[in-house]
Amino acid sequence: MLIAATLAILVVMILAIIRGVIGPTLYDRILAVNMFGTKTVLLISLLGFVMERPQFLDIAIVYALINFISVIGVLRYSDSFAFKQSTHEKESEEP
């Protein structure tokens, strides 16, 4: 059951990477990277149980914190010109 859950998480990570590559707007890419980081935390904790190494849980805790800091750090620049430019380009392309 543990190995099946690990494989399911790997499949979800591949799907998130595909959305991150083809995502039409900037926010889709940030969302996909955030989901990829969350799934990485789950994958590390599952791998710790599969390989019977409970030390991996410490790495999972640190990875969860780094993931949050990276998303907030990117959104810190959401007032900048490049972010607003990207959404307006998307709107003008649509019709």
Binding site: A4, V12, R19, Y27, L57
Partner: protein, 109 residues
Amino acid sequence: MEIVIEITSALCLLIGSFLCVSGGVGILRFPDFYTRIHAVGVTDTLGASMILVGLMLQSQESLVVAKLLLILLMTLFINPTATHALAKAAFHNGLMPLLSKRSATDKEP
């Protein structure tokens, strides 16, 4: 008694994996940024917590349970915060939700 715990843990892992895969399909298939946020929210809260509860039931030591509980608490606090900040930034910068054709034509005349 042990087999009950084993079956409960396997059931939790199965439900968590199903929710994660359905959210992964949703992030590819949904048409809009705001609907994709909904798909990611399902995997980030209920899917992750189900998998972590399933792992908690399987572990023997109390230190491992405490670490898993810490990861669960951080997941439940951090991911809604990040998603909220992302949706707020997108809405402030003028990314409009995708509306249906009929309501768009109703508004125009």
